[in-house]
């Protein structure tokens, strides 16, 4: 079906490595932060007040960022029972149709992500219900919004002048965690387009796998070959 994804060229390999490392590191950080907080409370009766919120932000980053990666390596789950029964030609047509839906989905996501993020960065969101018809320069900025408990690191103080009209941030502004939205949406669009191109060039047959353990099974299937 999907087969293992192999990155092409030196840039492809570096990017692939970076993506996989990012996923591993974010999950590792989430786990350690939560674990350390449990130990702090149980053994020392104290707590890191911001750790819960940071873990939730990392969780969000992990998933939103990772979705584009999963499109790249064809890891998203889907139902292939029907498409597998189709002959080659129609199967490709249907896969391209599914691809078009995905591209459309990603485009809508891009507009939504921008509109949600932009006011927090003191930038104008777009106008239009579903199709961006222009920039809404009259929209109120929301750059003053802060996270609940995450401390403001000093090296980000430049944001006060850049987007907050010189006003002081006592906590990390929300624009920082929200930045994953436009970044992830753009990456998702890019990876979906690549995936559709692979279907078009007959390099792959679909955008989905039928179950979550496909990789794990490849490793063990050899043990049970034959009757």
């Amino acid at each position: 079906m999907s087969g293992k994804y192999t990155p092409k060229g030196p840039v492809g390999r570096v990017v692939h490595g970076l993506e996989e490392t990012a996923i591993a590191v974010i999950l590792g950080l989430m786990t350690m932060l939560t674990f350390v907080n449990v130990i702090m409370r149980y053994a020392f009766n104290s707590s890191i007040i911001w750790s819960l919120e940071v873990v939730l932000v990392l969780f969000t980053w992990l998933v939103l960022f990772g979705v584009s990666y999963a499109f790249k390596v064809t890891a998203h789950l889907g139902v292939d029972a029907i498409t597998n029964m189709l002959p080659r030609g129609p199967r490709k047509v249907v896969a391209l149709l599914a691809g078009a839906i995905c591209v459309f989905y990603a485009l809508l996501l891009c507009k939504g992500a921008w509109d949600q993020w932009a006011p927090f960065a003191d930038l104008p969101p777009t106008t239009g219900h579903w199709f961006p018809t222009g920039l809404d320069t009259a929209a109120r900025g929301r750059s003053f919004f802060e996270t609940d408990q995450i401390p403001m690191p000093d090296w980000l103080r430049f944001l006060e002048d850049w987007i907050n009209y010189g006003e002081h941030y006592s906590k990390l502004p929300r624009v920082v965690p929200y930045t994953i939205l436009p970044v992830a949406a753009a990456l998702i669009l890019f990876r979906i387009c690549q995936a559709v191109r692979r279907v078009w060039n007959d390099e792959s047959e679909s955008l989905i796998v039928s179950h979550e353990a496909e990789d794990a099974i490849e490793d063990v299937a050899a043990m049970n070959r034959g009757d």
């Binding site: 409370r41 009766n45 104290s46 707590s47 007040i49 819960l52 919120e53 006011p119 109120r140 929301r142 003053f144 919004f145 802060e146 996270t147 609940d148 408990q149 906590k171 929300r174």
Partner: protein
């Protein structure tokens, strides 16, 4: 549901519709608006966080996706620090003092604190005065020393617990009952109706009647939405809202007493403090005020204390 031509007012909140003080007030507001403004406006209420959670709703309101909400005051921390006044321990001795302060000039001015951010406070809705509960008797402030208390994640409440020598623990509301029961945290602070509604008293040694703080909600709408209404509609809407606010706030004391009695009826333990004991708690926690005096405004604290003394 709404007819064509009616202005749709979506009200999103996070409690039930018929037992929680906020839910009751929202239901009453809905009923009155749909009766009295029929043809002009129509209100849809989305309870139980079904549309937005309190964390989401303020952003959604600024985008225009929802028109009315009543988050707890601590949710506005990231927009204005002035509402921290209501979190400061022992600022008000009872709900009447809170009421009187909010009705005063200083209190009414606080409704406008977020105007420049595009939000307009329309009125304060009470939940009630906060009490402490824990898995051991709390009579002296020293009883709380070393205990782990679940608090809402707010700087004031963290400082308050630190002043007691207790350890503040942030925790999702949904996990609090289980955590109190198994002992992951030792205690919490809440109003009578929350302690009864969430059955916290069942898994605690007892509740101490400290009345050390308040939980209040701010009914809020966006400035842009209010501006978009014609004056007559807006006046009618605000009049109804104010009448509902007054009516329900007057009932809160009763709702609180009922919840308090229900806890006793269900076998819960409630401990009252003597005047001296209460003063000990005040002495330990009041230094927190100075920490936040600058953000909250010394003149606001003074105004609150003047009214507090008169009540």
């Amino acid at each position: 549901s709404c007819e064509d031509g009616e202005m749709v007012i979506k009200f999103s909140h996070v409690t039930n519709t018929d037992k929680h003080p906020k839910g009751i007030a929202a239901s009453l507001l809905q009923q009155r608006i749909n009766d009295e403004m029929n043809g002009k406006a129509c209100m849809e209420v989305f309870p139980n966080s079904t549309l937005y959670t309190d964390e989401q709703v303020i952003e959604a309101m600024l985008r225009g996706d929802v028109q009315l909400a009543a988050p707890s005051l601590s949710l506005f921390e990231s927009i204005t620090k002035s509402y921290r006044l209501f979190d400061l321990p022992f600022m008000f001795k009872n709900i009447n003092a809170v009421d009187a302060f909010q009705a005063s000039e200083t209190g009414q001015a606080m409704l406008d604190a977020m105007q420049r951010r595009g939000l307009q406070g329309l009125g304060f809705w009470h939940n009630g005065m906060k009490q402490f509960s824990a898995n051991k008797p709390l009579l002296e402030p020293s009883d709380a020393q070393g205990l782990k208390f679940r608090v809402q994640p707010s700087d004031v409440l963290v400082a308050q617990m630190n002043a007691l020598g207790a350890s503040p623990q942030p925790m999702a509301f949904a996990e609090v009952y289980g955590a109190l029961q198994t002992g992951v945290v030792d205690g919490q602070e809440n109003t009578w109706s929350n302690i009864y509604g969430q059955k916290f008293f069942e898994v605690q040694d007892g509740v101490t009647e400290t009345n050390h703080g308040i939980i209040d909600y701010l009914v809020v709408a966006s400035v842009d939405w209010l501006d978009s209404m014609d004056a007559e509609t807006r006046d009618q809407f605000l009049t109804i809202l104010h009448e509902v606010t007054t009516e329900r706030n007057a009932e809160v004391g009763k709702v609180d007493l009922e919840a308090r009695q229900a806890i006793l009826d269900a076998g819960g333990v409630i401990r009252e403090l003597t005047a001296e004991q209460r003063q000990d708690w005040v002495d330990v926690m009041k230094p927190v005020w100075t920490q936040f005096e600058e953000e909250v405004g010394a003149e606001n604290i003074a105004a609150a204390q003047e009214i507090n003394a008169a009540n």
